[in-house]
Symmetry: C2
Subunit: 325 residues, 2 copies
């Protein structure tokens, strides 16, 4: 309501330059940044052939490796391990279950040898039989205190500053921003709004089944050790369809697990964009792609090259990785 301020002469304002300066300060002036800015300009300019109404400006983001670091292993795996250790005294039977024994003992090589199925079993056994609220409190207590084994930073300090800026930039242009992650939906929701500005209802992820119960006359949700949905690979567009019901116009990811989400996004009519974060910075973060067991970018890389998708070179395109740097 700046009624007393002089009206700006619109002809003197370079809109793109202004947005660039204000919104993406941690980005180098390279192709990746310019592509994102040009896309946003195209879909938000009324009268443009590429104009997209506000309600259809849906942007989706992978989480692990796209909005925060995922090395040396998914952060939620560390949370599950910490839960396993904490809960193990009341679960002596876990020592007879190989994957749980490995988790309780912190034996990563054995744990990882069980693959995704093993991780899933660990997560389901350690994340269930709690009410929704109790689980949320547990996640918050962990994320507020646990520290990354290599950087010593809290995990939520290892979010990518340039991606926070993209989230803000898109929202400033009336996009609705969603997380679409293979990680646990209930693991991300308790802190996603504070850290990413993304409210719980815009977080999509893998889930266990939940049931409604009346306990002492109070209605509660109880999480069960039973798989509900895996929001990864071909599951990502399905999760988008079931949760959002609209096809996104821009998708950000970093691995082959994000490829179907990007195919789905870019298959819609009108202007669309897919953006891969390429981990190229072994000094400030990690460098990996085609052969990494976590966050592998192989088929996705080939398709990104073939289809001329945007690829962010972390080392060259980002002048800052984490907010505190």
């Amino acid at each position: 309501m700046a009624c007393s301020q002089p009206q700006e002469d619109p002809t003197t304002v370079n809109v793109v330059a202004e947005e660039t300066v204000v919104h993406l300060p941690s980005w180098s002036d390279n192709t990746a940044k310019e592509s994102i800015v040009q896309f946003v300009k195209a879909v938000t300019t009324e009268g443009s052939a590429d104009f997209v109404p506000i309600g259809d400006r849906i942007a989706v983001f992978d989480n692990d490796g796209c909005l925060w670091t995922e090395k040396p292993y998914y952060f939620q795996l560390q949370f599950a391990l910490d839960c396993a250790k904490e809960l193990s005294p009341s679960h002596p039977e876990w020592m007879d279950i190989p994957v749980m024994k490995a988790a309780v003992e912190g034996d990563f090589p054995t744990l990882l040898s069980f693959g995704e199925k093993g991780i899933l079993e660990l997560v389901m056994r350690t994340h269930s039989e709690l009410t929704g609220e109790a689980f949320s409190e547990k996640v918050v207590a962990w994320i507020d205190t646990a520290k990354h084994p290599q950087t010593g930073l809290k995990y939520n300090e290892m979010v990518f500053q340039p991606m926070l800026e993209v989230l803000d930039y898109l929202r400033a242009n009336n996009f609705k921003t969603f997380i679409v992650s293979g990680g646990g939906i209930d693991f991300m929701r308790p802190w996603a709004e504070e850290v990413y500005g993304i409210p719980a209802e815009q977080v999509i992820g893998s889930s266990v089944k939940a049931v409604f119960e009346l306990r002492d006359g109070k209605g509660v949700i109880v999480k069960k050790a039973d798989l509900d949905f895996i929001d990864d690979k071909e599951g990502k567009p399905v999760g988008i369809y079931q949760h959002i019901g609209k096809r996104p116009i821009i998708a950000f990811g970093n691995s082959d697990g994000d490829l179907p989400m990007m195919q789905y996004t870019t298959s819609g009519e009108g202007k669309r964009m897919a953006v891969y974060v390429h981990h190229t910075d072994s000094i400030r973060e990690y460098a990996y792609d085609r052969t990494s067991s976590i966050g592998r970018l192989d088929k996705g890389w080939d398709e990104a090259i073939a289809k001329n998708w945007v690829i962010i070179d972390m080392a060259k395109d980002w002048n800052k990785i984490y907010p505190a740097q």
Copy 2:
């Protein structure tokens, strides 16, 4: 940007009275309206003990019988019947399946004798094997033309004007409004934004499974004839938990199928409200409650009375039912 208009003196404005006049014109000045207004005032007044931050102002609404009419039977059932008739020439095998035969022949007594399971089979067989976009177009084509057998109105003209006003009123007070319906999520999403102002991503309902496919290089979602989730009864709080991840502070419903959603909503800490629409108007709409096969309000009624929930008497509390009246 009404810069040239005089500033109002805030001390001369009676906020509650103004809201009442502006936002709920189709409501009689009875207890139901006053209760809703007082609730909204309490949770939105900064400094009040009942104040709720904007992001937690989650309002959930049943659809059938709460936002629009559900008699003589759920509107989606008519859509499924129309689909069955249209598709039957290419599905001769349906004549050997009793529920499908009844549907194709428009034999309601037989169809309804199969109960919920029969309706579910009909819906799954007629709503599947289409892409998400193709199904959405089909719904829009139907809702734009089909007419109610008794009123002759289009179905989306049989939404309740007083409830549209509640939706607007809550949104004007920074609530986020969600539909939580036993009806099909994909049946509501294509028109919910235009009719209710509720975008697709805030519609929760029953769903069939969906898969991602590449067809001619284009990524599409295909609906399958396989049940994914029933968003009714105890499923409603589960749907709320999985989709929203927050406990609502106000819930509107009209039947026993909404009771768990209301128990869940009112079990949270702080000020909460549950509101039942009671169908008492046999002249302008329908009158039914404890013994109705569709929209039964029996256990819910007893609990509403015991817990002093708000009950809307349609005949007395609403001076208008449908927008065109």
